[in-house]
Amino acid sequence: MKVELTVNGKDITAEVEDRTLLVHFLRDTADLTATNIGCDTTSCGACTVLLDGESVKSCTVLAAQADGQSVTTIEGLASDSGEMHPVQRAFHTEHGLQCGYCTPGMVMAIVSLLKENPSPTEEEVRVGLEGNICRCTGYHNIVQAALVAAASSGQEAAQ
């Protein structure tokens, strides 16, 4: 079947198998490989992307379901001039990543979380990340990065 998606601002039209998962569409058709696959039961969140601004696990959405919609992956998060998003920046300064495999999904999940709740408590961040598994960081610095990103976004918004 034919699907038309906007991925990171770019229109992509492709003929795909009906059963094609969004994550495979992104990786194989759009050739955007930052979004990783970490499980096959919608448990780990490594494949989290934004679909029309809402975070989804792209292993559990068919490309067909995303037809006509807009997808943002971590490759599309930085500004046009290449400046990192506050969440990306906070992951860097707070050492919120080690092997990097869960990172794109974690970052997208936090972008979405902060959109819904711009100044979360630590507890709210932890609950918000329940669907994203990291095996390297013990979550300590990921949570810290989310809080730092929230604070810096708040400051930027205030300026």
Partner: protein
């Protein structure tokens, strides 16, 4: 000021945070254009004979390129025939797999020994086609009774290797039968402690791509050791020089990616056999069936001492479940035996082990590899002993520590501890946590009969890191005539931050800016000689190699600088702050690295170093865990986790803390929630992430870290390993905390993982006794 010891954020991160890492499935190398997808057909039965394989239906499916079984491996070298072992040979203590009649085939031959064992390989044009076709490969199994537990294995009614006549494949030399060591002990406690089977669970599972081009095989593998992987791959009948192994970005390892597994060897062989590039990326369900798992030990312990808290004797008897194949022979329980007495000066220690086969996924290294098991049990035993003697567990630890003036100290099990300050670590943690106040709060909740009881758990640990220091690690440092440096390391990063750490070492020595230093690892064409990353060895061995190579480069550069200055070599100095060369006492004249190296042959200065250490190192620390247990539901909440860890001088606190955070989470996960389970027929019950209780952010607090720095004399940086401290210290601290919370209700022990059901049941059982 030197960069060493400062908080340098990672050079690796911008790429990982913007375009993402390049893991095996992300490779777009031209050699892999048109690569076929590999899908394994795996045994659905724990123990069975294979009586036939029919691939005809699968072969008719669209996109199927080949279905391969062991019968197709006629172009492989013959396996070395088993050699009978003479009587009285010492135990095989690995970490190599057992050979001979215990040898593991690449694809199942006529018998399967665990659910998930690879039986056949399907090659297809696309991933989805592979899953469809693999389901149509028809394998006839004749089921055998399954050996699904340590008890069933020891009973020996069913043998996994009938020719062996036993399910016990390795026995340690240690004797655990002489009870006289407990003579005169006023307080004696005896019991079983289970260290359950857990998943290593790197977020990227195993993956391998291979291409056979012009008589050379290139293998991209998600591995902790490209060079060891190359050595293992020679099993397919190629000399090392005909194989190139590349470790691209690797999404975590935790010990389960040391070397390369049988599936990856099959994929490499298949690329050569069919003459097309092949790529295999396992699913999580496959990963939880067939990637090696960790721990899986059952301990029987006895501990005795005086009423005033002095421990006089300790015995540890280990049974290691190795799963269907002995991938590491006796290595893991050997380490558990070696580290049995932990941080204590115990006059009499006995430790023994046996390794038994079960119809389960093979066991290998998992973050700590045999050492967390030792710490988990001695720390539980000390708490047991303290409870029996009616003493404070902190006080009992303090009484029995090896004292600072006793180092170097050789334990009764033969571990040569280098340096330590065990009491210092305990004191730091107790002070930071507010131990006395916590005990007071605990007392008041107990007196009030509160539903939510407080538990305080301690674990003081010591671990052995870089136990194979004699194998060492390699480094090559080059400085080019444009003033840039390149570091080639045999060590292998998969999240630890090697590139940042090693660049800092070069910057500190040579003054070349961080952004002009490139670190390269994991390519056997560029770095044929290396060991890789495991056992917390990277900084102490790989880092020391880089450090020494940088010094050699500096010494060589000094000669050229002297020539250019027309001065004596002894008058030439490098300002490591600015990376410029001067004549001593004359700061006005200076030369840049670019100018100095331009005077060298071919505009390049190179140093090659293999650093070896003649002794292992022994990091140590104390963890304190504070938990709340809901006595009505059994639910445990981890409130605080405070640690004092000491791995010698700190290169980069950010990286040090990151390693500790991750280890603490994995350690707490073992104590609280994670366990691989099988039913009595050997069917896995936890083969997806929906079933396996991987710990998440919601179950954990932020951690409170204290650091001290006791150097080792074992390497020029004075550093020890920090990678495994978390899993070693955290598991028993959390374990002890939960039991401490309910000990006043009569609970003496709860096995891990301490799920609400287990905690609740233990409380109920104690209240009816």
């Amino acid at each position: 000021m030197s960069i060493l010891g400062t908080r340098v954020i990672r050079t690796e991160d911008p790429r990982l945070l913007t375009s993402g890492g390049v893991y095996v499935d992300d490779l777009r190398e031209p050699e892999l254009a048109g690569a076929v997808r590999a899908t394994f057909v795996r045994s659905p039965i724990a123990h069975a004979l294979i009586t036939g394989i029919d691939a005809s239906a699968a072969l008719e499916q669209p996109g199927v390129v080949a279905v391969l079984t062991v019968a197709d491996m006629t172009d492989m070298p013959d396996q070395v025939p088993p050699e009978p072992e003479p009587e009285g040979v010492p135990p095989a203590e690995g970490p190599m797999p057992l050979g001979g009649l215990w040898a593991e085939p690449l694809l199942a031959v006529d018998r399967v020994r665990f659910v998930g064992e690879p039986v056949a390989l399907v090659l297809t044009d696309s991933t989805y086609q592979g899953e469809d076709a693999a389901e149509l490969v028809s394998v006839d199994y004749e089921p055998l009774p399954a050996v699904a537990s340590i008890e069933a294995s020891l009973a020996g009614e069913t043998l996994l290797y009938p020719d062996a006549g036993t399910n016990v494949c390795v026995r340690g030399r240690g004797e655990v039968t002489d009870d006289s060591i407990f003579d005169g002990c006023e307080v004696v406690v005896e019991g079983d402690v289970v260290n359950q089977r857990v998943a290593c669970l790197p977020m990227e599972g195993r993956s391998t791509a291979a291409a056979w081009v012009d008589g050379k095989l290139t293998v991209w593998a998600s591995t902790q050791n490209a060079q060891i992987a190359r050595l293992i791959l020679t099993a397919i009948g190629l000399p090392p020089e005909a194989i190139r192994v590349v470790a691209p970005d690797v999404g975590g390892g935790f010990g389960a990616k040391i070397g390369i597994d049988r599936e990856s060897i099959v994929v490499a062989w298949a690329a050569k056999h069919v003459g097309r590039p092949v790529r295999w990326v396992e699913t999580r369900s496959e990963n939880l069936l067939a990637m090696t798992q960790g721990r899986a030990q059952r301990h029987h312990i006895k501990i005795g001492g005086s009423k005033d808290g002095h421990i006089r004797a300790y015995r540890l008897d280990v049974v290691q479940d190795t799963g269907g194949y002995a991938r590491m022979s006796g290595f893991l329980p050997m380490l558990t035996n070696l580290m049995a007495p932990g941080v204590y000066d115990i006059p009499a220690v006995q430790a023994g082990y046996k390794v038994v086969l079960t119809n389960a996924t093979p066991i290998a290294a998992y973050r700590g590899a045999g050492r967390p098991e030792a710490a988990a049990t001695i720390e539980r035993a000390v708490d047991w002993f303290a409870a029996e003697a009616g003493l404070d567990p902190a006080q009992v630890r303090r009484l029995n520590f090896i004292r600072n003036d006793q180092f170097p100290f050789v334990t009764k099990t033969g571990a040569p501890y280098d340096s330590g300050d065990y009491e210092g670590a305990l004191d730091k943690v107790l002070a930071a946590a507010g131990y006395d106040e916590l005990r007071a709060e605990q007392r008041s909740r107990r007196e009030a009969g509160a539903t939510r009881q407080l538990g305080i758990g301690l674990a003081s640990y010591v671990e052995i890191t870089a136990a194979d220091g004699a194998a060492g690690e390699t480094a090559k440092v080059e400085v080019h005539d444009d003033g840039r440096a390149t570091v080639y390391t045999g060590s292998s990063a998969h999240g630890q931050g090697h590139h940042t750490a090693f660049a800092m070492l070069v910057n500190a020595e040579l003054g070349i800016p961080m952004d002009r230093i490139e670190v390269i690892h994991g390519d056997t064409d560029l770095i044929p000689d290396g060991i890789g990353t495991y056992a917390s060895r990277s900084l102490q061995l790989g880092g020391s190699a880089v450090h020494k190579a940088a010094i050699e480069v500096k010494d060589e550069a000094a000669k050229h600088a002297a020539e250019l200055f027309e001065a004596s070599e002894s008058d030439v100095v490098l300002d490591a702050e600015t990376g410029t060369w001067h004549i001593a006492g004359d700061p006005d004249k200076s030369l840049t690295w670019s100018q100095v190296v331009s005077a060298a042959d071919q505009g390049l200065i190179v140093a090659n170093v293999r650093f070896t250490a003649d002794r292992p190192t022994f990091p140590f620390g104390t963890h304190l865990s504070l938990v709340e247990v809901d006595t009505e539901t059994g639910k445990v909440t981890l409130l605080r986790h405070v640690t004092a860890d000491d791995a010698g001088p700190v290169l980069n606190p950010i990286l040090l803390e990151g390693q500790r955070h991750g280890g603490i989470a994995q350690g707490a996960a073992q104590a609280l929630c994670e366990e691989i389970l099988y039913d009595s027929d050997g069917n896995p019950l936890t083969s997806t992430l929906a079933d396996y209780a991987a710990i998440t952010a919601t179950e954990l607090p932020s951690f409170e870290l204290l650091t001290s720095e006791t150097p080792t004399p074992g390497n020029p940086l004075g550093v020890k390993g920090i990678g495994e401290a978390g899993t070693i210290g955290a598991t028993p601290a959390v374990h002890n905390a939960v039991i401490d919370a309910v000990s006043h209700l009569g609970v003496r022990h709860i096995d891990m993982p301490m799920t609400p059901e287990r905690v609740w049941t233990a409380i109920q059982k104690a209240s009816t006794e």
